[in-house]
């Protein structure tokens, strides 16, 4: 009576699943990818495509008019040689570094950290008010913010009125110290981002650590420097990397406030790039500068990533 029929009849179902495991999932994977093709296609066309075109154009003499518009010729490293021999380019790099240092690395970073620290201890009302004001500055459209700040720094503007009210001399900020003016403008505009990042990072710190440091006798400043900041060091590095890259590419704010002027006193790399590519019609040269800017951004990123990795180790 004990035939082997019963067990074998039960076998096919589980064995069907196990034997098919190698063949079917691969096909399933490909079918799963199909709905992604429009998204991948769009990204290739609109993201990778222009970047690759930019890389191509940087090595040509492409222009909007004149020679170089009809017959685009490959010129190798000529555009880069022209850039590195150009005083205006060196000026633009210097101004970009000054702008990034003042407005991002020093300004937004420390102000954001300071605001986040203070808001930890403040009442809910104050926290909401300050938070709304700071974030409001951040979400304003760039051109609107630029006009507001233009009016603020203008010769007859609010800043000079305030300075005169306390007896200090004013000056034509946008004309005499344009890079300082746009740096302050960018700090006003972008601090919200750092503040949010640091708020999140600080809320992760367990209260017990700070309390135990306080009980051990550490003063407020020592607690900040030796306990709090090291605990959020990863957030510091990430934040610095993000705001540096964002600040390197600030264009609209500076263009609407000073157009890069007077002369070239506030002409950072993005503005120099715009002027060469569009106002002076040299697309090839402009895209070469864009690639140099990409390289500068990459160098900054490497520095920060190094910092991140060494913290993680």
């Amino acid at each position: 009576m004990t035939t082997t029929v019963a067990p074998t009849s039960a076998a096919p179902a589980p064995s069907g699943k196990t034997s098919g495991r190698s063949g079917k999932p691969r096909a399933a994977k490909l079918v799963r990818m199909v709905p992604l093709t429009p998204a991948i296609g769009l990204m290739l066309v609109f993201l990778a495509g222009p970047i690759l075109y930019c890389v191509y154009a940087a090595f040509t003499n492409m222009a909007l008019t004149g020679t170089g518009a009809a017959n685009v010729k490959f010129v190798g490293l000529d555009n880069f040689r022209k850039a590195f021999n150009s005083g205006a380019f060196t000026n633009a790099i210097w101004l970009t570094l000054v702008f990034t240092l003042i407005s991002a690395i020093i300004g937004q970073n420390t102000l954001g950290l300071g605001l986040a620290l203070l808001m930890r201890k403040s009442t809910k009302v104050v926290r909401n008010f300050v938070g709304t004001a700071v974030i409001g500055a951040w979400v304003l459209p760039e051109v609107v913010a630029a006009y507001l700040l233009s009016a603020f720094f203008n010769d007859d503007g609010t800043l000079n009125v305030m300075l005169h009210a306390v007896g200090l001399p004013g000056q034509d900020w946008l004309y005499a110290a344009p890079i300082i003016a746009v740096s302050l403008a960018n700090i006003w505009r972008g601090t919200a981002f750092s503040m949010l990042v640091y708020s999140a990072a600080l809320s992760e710190i367990p209260k017990e650590i700070e309390e135990s440091a306080e009980m051990d006798g550490a003063s407020g400043a020592r607690r900040l420097v030796f306990v709090t900041v090291p605990m959020i060091s990863r957030a510091v590095m990430t934040n610095l990397m993000l705001i540096t890259l964002q600040t390197l590419s600030v264009f609209g704010l500076i263009f609407a406030m000073t157009r890069g002027g007077p002369g070239t006193k506030s002409q950072t790399l993005p503005l120099y790039m715009y002027e060469q590519a569009f106002s002076f019609s040299q697309i090839g040269y402009g895209t070469a500068i864009a690639l140099v800017m990409l390289a500068i951004g990459a160098v900054f990123s490497l520095i920060y990533l190094r910092g991140l990795n060494s913290e993680a180790a």
């Binding site: 429009p38 909007l64 002369g263 106002s279």
Partner: protein
């Protein structure tokens, strides 16, 4: 199981359809096939021009021409495209539009100095075949015919007028400063001294305006710098040697003049001058408002003050005087003027060139040509327009500016000129803001020009 499979198939197919429909772009205008003869069928053509500042002369003129064209060609439509951009931004925008058949207008308003540059770029279409069958072409002066002619000998545009440049001055402010109503400066120092007198005697008024800096683009180069440079012994381009001039004393002297005007406070503040609206401000606010005493400007600015203009000012013919800009030391011809002009051109990538030519013919019927020359404050380039009574009597200044045509010079409108012009205005801005000394700015200009045209195409100035 089957449901899941069917769902996957449906999802995949719909995704592919979405991608396909997103990639194909329907044309924004229904065009007839490019190969068919456009003159027989109805066409939709676009005409582009610059709209900057409050003036509406061109807009009104084109609206009238559009109505004429559409009634003469039933079924065809004309779309008027105002490009709202200042000076050089307009040229950039136009070049960007002409690069693709999808965006190229059919008729464009093209400045003569860009003709060779845009032809080298392949943006414009030669008009010789159309012109040889056009009876109006014989009315155009020879210099005008040459203005739109490229180095390859073909004509690429139909000029609608020209202009000259000189000093406009406010006789009322001059009286207050004790300066003569019939002012005839003979040297640059005469001009500067008059400005200094005004600064002293009539405070609150800007003595002299000379366009300078990058925001005012070609206006700074032509009305500003070249009006000075061509009054010295040097020029931008040596026609005999066919080479660009660098290292010239005249260039440095002209930069020094700019520096003097802006550092002595004889002109607007550098900040005011670097406003891209300065051009329209001079004509519509500063001169009619008596806030500017002397303006080194063009023959056309009275167009603002006519009844059809942006700031009608009937008293202008008694208040404003004109005198020629002198040469540096009174030598040579004694007077300096430069001439430019605008043309109507057909982009190479236009889809309706025949219809576009019909529109240009409508723009330049004798009646329309005279109308625009009058309302647009142009100097006539056609014999019949020059004889037109309406044009001749339109403005007191017309005769004065037309007489300057005998001494006027033209820019070296070669393909590299726009790039050279950009270096000129960069040098001007560096000097007027105090960023560079005139010598250093001139040296930077020399190096830049050598980079643009090649060292073998440059020659030292005197």
């Amino acid at each position: 199981m089957v449901m899941r499979k069917r769902f996957k198939v449906v999802a995949a197919v719909s995704a592919v359809l979405l991608a396909v429909s997103a990639c194909s772009q329907g044309s924004t205008t229904k065009q007839p096939d490019a190969g068919s003869s456009q003159s027989s069928g109805p066409a939709h053509i676009k005409i582009a021009y610059q709209q900057w500042g409050p003036g509406v002369v061109m807009k009104n003129f084109l609206t009238g021409v559009k109505a004429e064209y559409e009634s003469a060609n039933p079924g065809s439509t004309v779309e008027i495209l105002p490009i709202v951009a200042s000076e050089n931004d307009y040229y950039t925008k136009l070049q960007l539009m002409m690069r693709s058949p999808n965006t190229a207008p059919d008729v464009v308003y093209e400045d003569t100095f860009l003709i060779n540059s845009d032809i080298t770029a392949g943006y414009l279409r030669p008009l010789d075949d159309y012109i040889k069958n056009w009876d109006q072409w014989s009315q155009f002066e020879d210099t005008a015919k040459g203005a739109a002619k490229a180095l390859d000998g073909k004509t690429y545009g139909v000029p609608d007028g020209t202009d000259t440049r000189a000093l406009w001055y406010n006789k009322q402010l001059f009286a207050k400063a004790g300066l003569p109503a019939d002012w005839q400066p003979k040297t640059w120092d005469d001009v500067l001294n008059a400005a200094r007198t005004i600064k002293q005697k009539v405070p609150g008024v800007t003595p002299l305006n000379v366009y300078s800096g990058k925001p005012m683009g070609e206006a700074s180069a032509m009305q500003g710098f070249e009006m000075l440079l061509y009054g010295t012994k040097d020029t931008l381009y040596n026609n005999d040697q066919q080479k660009w001039v660098v290292g010239s004393q005249g260039f440095k002297d002209s930069l020094n003049f700019i520096k003097t005007v802006y550092t002595e406070g004889l002109g607007p503040s550098p900040k005011q001058a670097l406003d891209p609206n300065m051009g329209s401000k001079v004509g519509t606010e500063l001169l009619p408002g008596g806030k500017l005493a002397i303006a080194l400007d063009g023959s056309w600015i009275y167009g603002n003050w006519q009844k059809t203009g942006a700031k009608p000012w009937p008293q202008w013919s008694t208040v404003m005087g004109q005198t020629a800009m002198p040469t540096q030391d009174g030598g040579g011809k004694g007077k300096v003027s430069l001439s430019g002009g605008w043309t109507w051109a057909i982009p190479a990538k236009s889809k309706n060139p025949d219809a576009a030519w019909n529109l240009i013919k409508t723009l330049q019927t004798q009646k329309n040509a005279a109308k625009y020359a009058t309302d647009g404050a142009q100097i006539a380039v056609r014999k019949d327009v020059a004889d037109d009574a309406g044009y001749k009597n339109s403005a007191k200044s017309t005769q004065f500016f037309t007489d300057l045509v005998s001494v006027t010079v033209y820019r070296p409108a070669y393909a590299e000129y726009p790039k050279v012009s950009n270096e000129i205005i960069t040098a001007m801005e560096a000097v007027m803001t105090g960023q560079s000394s005139p010598d250093k700015a001139a040296k930077n200009y020399d190096e830049a020009v050598e980079g643009i045209v090649g060292k073998d195409k440059t020659t030292q100035g005197q």
